[in-house]
Every structure is written in structure tokens, then in C-alpha cells.
């Protein structure tokens, strides 16, 4: 480190400058540091935008518009369509040599793990009745990291503890393993796989086309998010099974693509047999009660829920009672999924010709009372018969 004394002993300052020059020479010889690459290679200044008065815009309105537009399209096309609400999803993470590439900072593996953590939390938030399991592809073999379960913490802890990459990835082994695991789930559940694939090839022991046909026959919907480039075999797999294939350009795009899989996808009717599932609605125990909880096997004070069938205590909902196997949920969890069944009617875009006539518009936004003098973009809702701002 250089000596930068404000009182500035001249000799020390000179020496500091010399050291600085030496450092710079060494750096340009060694290659750029990460912080320098952000300016030299990626040109971060090009993504800034100015508004009409020349001031820098803090939020990128175009990206916001585009995201809103895509969201509205999606809700418009899937509004009246049956959705698979009880999902059994396996996340297959590619931990082969290609996952150690550093084009995503600090490495693909770490970025993927971060996005999977965010995805798991969002998934359980939107689908409280569903379950997730984790599978890793490493050294040409597929291994089941965690079994199907409804608690986000256990999955995330298991994933973060096992982040090493080596060897090749085998798509066929992953699909075979997931196929065997998903055979055991009840018939009313929707079977899904989400593969996060970083490699550019797959090393398979047999005919992968057969495996794909097997998965198609087992009604498993496979979706893939690629990190490197588009692969034909991935595209074929997704087309055959009715899933979604997308390739990420950079980290924010990867986040968007992965989170797109959190809300329930349109269901294919024959894939899941409609059934009446027996569920329990436990009451919350009173605050001062001491009992032994069945999940941690230790005495707990207060809180907790009592299974209505076998009266065992569980700590959190939704869960499956460990003693009698009854699925335990609370009515807010079911209500969480009604939002997918009864989506709100999308707002209509107000054409600019109306926004230019100030007399026709009310003075302020109906929802938040912000002044509508410089609207930018306005929406009109037919239900509340009033105008609202874009954001």
C-alpha cells in the first residue's frame, strides 16, 4: 500500500508514486483486474440513460416496460388455462468441469447456486403444496442430493455444502435418475424437472433418445436453462416433453429465466389424475404449552401446531405429519394458490393521444395519489374505472 500522508513528507510521497508506477506496469503485464474489466470490457457506462432534461435516469424505464409487457402477455395467454398446482419438481444442477468457468463472476457454479437458492424460496412461496428435490451431475454420474421435501432450508443447506465441480456431465444419467425417483409420487401430482446446464456436451452410457421417450411416456415435463450455448439435444428434450428451453446471456437474465419457472405452468390435463387429497388443518397451540415436537424430537415451549388425526406436534406448516402421514396445511397456504386460479384482469394501456389532452384525465393516480401531470405511461383498469400509473 502506498503512503498517503496528508501532511505529506515529500520523500515518502515520491516513493509512493514510484511504487504506483511499478504496480501499474505489473498489472498491465499480468492482465486486467476484475474491477478494471468492468470498464474496459463491459463498458458499463453504455447502459446509462438520460431523460428529457439531460439528467441521468436512475431506473431503466425501457427494461421495466419490457418486463411488464412480457408479464402481461404471459398472464393474458394463460389466464383461463388449468395450472398444475401440486408440483413435484427436481432441480438438476450441472457440476461438471464447465461449471467452473469464470465467465459468470466468481464462477458459474456459485452463480447457479445463488439463483437456485432464490428460486427455491420463491417456489415455496408461490406453491406451498409442492415439493422440491435436488440432483447433481458430476464426473459423469448423477447423484440425488436431497429427497423430495417441503422445507427450503434443508435443500439450501445441502446445496451450499456440496459446491465442487469436476468431470463430465451426463444428461442421460440425470434423466434416468429423476425418472426413477418421480415414479414413486402420487398420481395427482405434476412431475417436473428443471435442468441448469453449463456444459456444451453430454457423455452418455447409452441411447439418450430412448431415455427421452421414457420420460415423455412417464409424463415428466423437462425444462432447461442453459448457461453456455444452445444445444440441439436440450431443445429436442424440451420439445418432446412440453417444457421450456432458454439460454441465459448474463446474470440478471439468468435470474429472470430461472424465476420464470416458479409460478405454476399450464398443465396438460391427462398428465395428472384429479383426485381428492385428504389434508388436515391444524390449530395453533396456545402459547404456554410444553410438548415434544415430532420433527426435532425435543421438548419445545409454546407455539407449534397439532395434527388433527394423531395429535402430534409439528413446528411449521406446510408439512407432512411424521407419525400418521397426513398432509398438514393452513388456509392461507391454499389461498396462496388461488391467485394462480383467479388472476386479476390485466390493465389496459392508455394511448398517448388521450394522455396529451389534459382535460380528459383525472388529476392524480387512483391508487397512490401521485400527480398525473407528467404521466409517462398510464393504465386504465376497466374494473375500477380509473387511471393508474405504470409503476
Amino acid at each position: 500500500m502506498m503512503n498517503r500522508d496528508i501532511n505529506g513528507e515529500g520523500r515518502k510521497l515520491n516513493r509512493g508514486e514510484e511504487e504506483e508506477e511499478e504496480d501499474e506496469d505489473e498489472e498491465s503485464g499480468r492482465g486486467r483486474d476484475a474491477w478494471e474489466r468492468a470498464y474496459a470490457d463491459e463498458r458499463s457506462w453504455e447502459s446509462l440513460q438520460e431523460d428529457e432534461s439531460g439528467l441521468l435516469r436512475p431506473i431503466d424505464n425501457k427494461a421495466l416496460h419490457h418486463a411488464q409487457y412480457r408479464r402481461r402477455l404471459r398472464t393474458a395467454t394463460t389466464a383461463g388455462i388449468q395450472k398444475g398446482l401440486i408440483r413435484y419438481l427436481y432441480i438438476v444442477i450441472d457440476l461438471s468441469r464447465a461449471a467452473g468457468e469464470m465467465d459468470y463472476k466468481p464462477s458459474r457454479m456459485v452463480v447457479v447456486a445463488r439463483q437456485v437458492e432464490a428460486f427455491i424460496r420463491e417456489f415455496f412461496d408461490q406453491n406451498p403444496l409442492s415439493q422440491i428435490g435436488l440432483v447433481t451431475l458430476k464426473d459423469g454420474v448423477a447423484q440425488c442430493l436431497t429427497d423430495l421435501g417441503g422445507s427450503p432450508e434443508s435443500h439450501i443447506k445441502a446445496l451450499m455444502g456440496k459446491l465442487e465441480c469436476s468431470g463430465d456431465s451426463s444428461l442421460q444419467n440425470g434423466l434416468d435418475l429423476v425418472h426413477d425417483l418421480l415414479n414413486q409420487i402420487p398420481s395427482y401430482g405434476h412431475r417436473e424437472v428443471l435442468i441448469l446446464y453449463s456444459a456444451l456436451s453430454t457423455c452418455d452410457p447409452g441411447d439418450i433418445m430412448e431415455t427421452i421417450q421414457k420420460c415423455k411416456g412417464a409424463k415428466i415435463r423437462c425444462s432447461i436453462v442453459g448457461l453456455s450455448a444452445e444445444l440441439y439435444i436440450c431443445k429436442y428434450l424440451c420439445q418432446e416433453t412440453g417444457g421450456l428451453y432458454s439460454v441465459a446471456l448474463d446474470e440478471p437474465h439468468l435470474k429472470e429465466l430461472v424465476l420464470e419457472h416458479a409460478p405454476p405452468p399450464p398443465a396438460i390435463a391427462e398428465f395428472a389424475i384429479a383426485n381428492l387429497i385428504k389434508m388436515g388443518f391444524p390449530q395453533r397451540a396456545a402459547e404456554g404449552v410444553i410438548s415434544i415436537c415430532s420433527c426435532h424430537k425435543e421438548a419445545k415451549f409454546g407455539g407449534g401446531y397439532t395434527c388433527p388425526r394423531c395429535k402430534a406436534r409439528v413446528c411449521e406448516l406446510p408439512t407432512e405429519c411424521r407419525i400418521c402421514g397426513l398432509t398438514l396445511v393452513s388456509s392461507p397456504h391454499l389461498a396462496r394458490s388461488y391467485h394462480h386460479l383467479f388472476p386479476i384482469t390485466p390493465f389496459d394501456d392508455v394511448s398517448p393521444s388521450i394522455t396529451n389532452i389534459p382535460q380528459k384525465l383525472p388529476k392524480s393516480c387512483f391508487g397512490c395519489q401521485q400527480s398525473l401531470l407528467n404521466p409517462g405511461s398510464l393504465f386504465f383498469s376497466t374494473e375500477i374505472a380509473n387511471f393508474q400509473k405504470l409503476d
Binding site: 403444496l129 420439445q239 391427462e270 384429479a274 383426485n275 387429497i277 389434508m279 395519489q369 401521485q370
Partner: protein
């Protein structure tokens, strides 16, 4: 020395309080001998003024909940000088007149007898809070308090639950002070899920004291206080066939409707457009209008 940075002024205890006042005339006429709307307003106005006095930067916004509509009646941050809460009275009167004229126009509100539009005012409060969040990195801590008395309208269940989940995600607590005769299951769930306080005062004559001791503190100070704990929040669902609360039931895997007994056909799935009527135990026939393969 440079002048103090503005962020030092916006301390932890600055709050934005959204107050949702129930102005349902059916409800207020039903409890007339015990408590009147004017007495209620005098307690509430004193409470609002005291909030504004607690901290110079506190903001209060009042939304009135009517039967057919909801509207903003007071915003302490609008206008050049921060106003006293009494200025809401003329706007509230105007709102009540508009609301009543709307109910003369359409008789069938579909809400159930005498329940007010809580879902509408919760949504408006959340819109205002979102706007505050987007106004920049320095903003007061928002919270919502519902002064509610009307019975719960079952038709608003989905909308209220949606507002509760949005509030939970934005980390906005919903406090409830129930003035009516019976407890409100919706508000109990709202306060439990969002981490707010639920209170049903026993003596309505002392309403100001309840408000000032329980609901006046900002979010940061709540960590150090003993506020009323949730007691007996009922999370049981009611079955769609008889509307009884059940603790064990059967759920249709397609539409999540709740039944108390095992039955052959789901009565709800047939009513949803574009959904095959679910016959349990059988694979459904392919209906070209309903199912779609998503590529």
C-alpha cells in the same frame, strides 16, 4: 465541518401510518347505543394528531372504507404546511355522501349484508406504500392500521388474502383494532401473517388509550415492547359444501376446493371456464379447448 447529511435526520423511528377507517353506515347504525361515529372520530383524530407530534417527519394517510368505494380523505404530507387531522372531516363527509349515492344505484353489492370494502382500501394503502418505496432510498417505515367493525364479507376472501401476501412480501405489518361486536377472522389472519398486532378493545369509551398505548409506537421500538400477543388464531378452513369449519378435509387436486366428505365429482371445477370437470380417480379425456401444450 460539513452540514449533517440528511440521512441522519431520517432516524429509525420515522413512520408512515396508513389508517383505514370503516365508514359503513349500516354498521355504525347497528351499534348506535354503545358507541357513535362522532365519538369514534374524536378518538381517532386525537390519535392522529399525537402521531404527527411524536416525530416531525411522521406521515399519516387516512383512507375511508365504504360499502361500495374507498377513498383518500387525508394526507399529512400534501400541502405546504403539515395540517392537523381535523381537516379530514369535510372530505370524509363528501366521501360518505358519494358512497351512499353509489349504493342507491346498485342494490346488489355481492358483499354480504353490511360488510365494507376492506380489500379495496388495503389495496390502495399498498399502492401508496409502493410509491413511497420507489421514491428513493430514504423513506419512512410504513405500516397499516385497520379500524374496522363491519362483519367479514366472504366474497372478498381471495382479494384480502392477496393483499395480505403482498404486505407480507413488502414487510409491511397490518395492525387491526376491531371496534365491532365479533372478532374478524380476516383481520386476525392479516395481523398474524404480516407480524402486526390484533386487538379488540373491551371498553370502547377508552379507545384513544388503547390506540395510543398499543398502536402508536414505530416499528423499531416494537422490539422492546410487550404488545398484545395473538391468541387462538383460527387457521382452519371452511368446506365449500356446508361452510362449516373443518380440521380435516378433502382437497381437489385441480382447483383446491375443500370438501368435508369424499365425493365423486368436484363441484367447483365445472364452474371454472376452460377447466375439465374433475371426476376423481379417472384420467380426464382430452378436451381440445382446455388443455394446451406449452412449448
Amino acid at each position: 465541518m460539513s452540514p449533517p447529511v440528511p440521512s441522519k435526520i431520517l432516524t429509525d423511528d420515522v413512520s408512515l401510518l396508513m389508517v383505514l377507517i370503516d365508514s359503513n353506515p349500516h354498521f355504525w347504525s347497528s351499534i348506535k347505543p354503545h358507541f357513535s361515529f362522532s365519538k369514534f372520530l374524536s378518538h381517532v383524530l386525537a390519535f392522529l394528531n399525537s402521531i404527527l407530534l411524536l416525530n416531525q417527519l411522521n406521515q399519516v394517510v387516512v383512507i375511508a372504507t365504504g360499502i361500495n368505494s374507498c377513498g383518500y380523505v387525508f394526507d399529512s404530507s400534501s400541502g405546504s404546511v403539515s395540517q392537523r387531522a381535523e381537516s379530514l372531516l369535510p372530505k370524509l363527509e363528501e366521501f360518505a355522501e358519494n358512497d351512499e349515492s353509489l349504493s342507491e344505484r346498485d342494490d346488489d353489492s355481492g358483499n354480504g349484508v353490511g360488510s365494507s370494502l376492506l380489500s379495496g382500501s388495503l389495496s390502495m394503502a399498498l399502492c401508496y406504500i409502493q410509491r413511497v418505496f420507489r421514491s428513493g432510498p430514504l423513506h419512512p417505515q410504513p405500516r397499516i392500521i385497520c379500524l374496522h367493525g363491519s362483519p367479514d364479507g366472504p366474497g372478498q376472501y381471495v382479494a384480502i388474502m392477496n393483499s395480505i401476501f403482498s404486505a407480507q412480501r413488502s414487510m409491511v405489518p397490518i395492525d387491526s383494532c376491531v371496534i365491532g361486536i365479533q372478532h374478524s377472522a380476516f383481520l386476525q389472519q392479516a395481523s398474524y401473517i404480516t407480524g402486526g398486532v390484533y386487538l379488540k378493545p373491551q371498553q370502547l369509551d377508552g379507545l384513544f388509550q388503547y390506540l395510543a398505548t398499543v398502536f402508536a409506537t414505530d416499528l423499531h421500538s416494537r422490539n422492546f415492547l410487550q404488545l398484545p400477543k395473538p391468541v387462538g388464531v383460527d387457521f382452519r378452513a371452511s368446506c365449500f359444501c356446508h361452510k362449516n369449519t373443518i380440521d380435516m378435509g378433502f382437497i381437489c387436486s385441480v382447483c383446491l376446493s375443500i370438501f368435508c366428505k369424499h365425493q365423486k365429482k368436484c363441484s367447483t371445477c365445472g364452474m371454472l371456464p376452460n377447466v375439465c370437470r374433475s371426476i376423481f380417480g379417472q384420467a380426464q379425456t382430452r378436451d381440445p379447448s382446455a388443455s394446451q401444450q406449452r412449448k
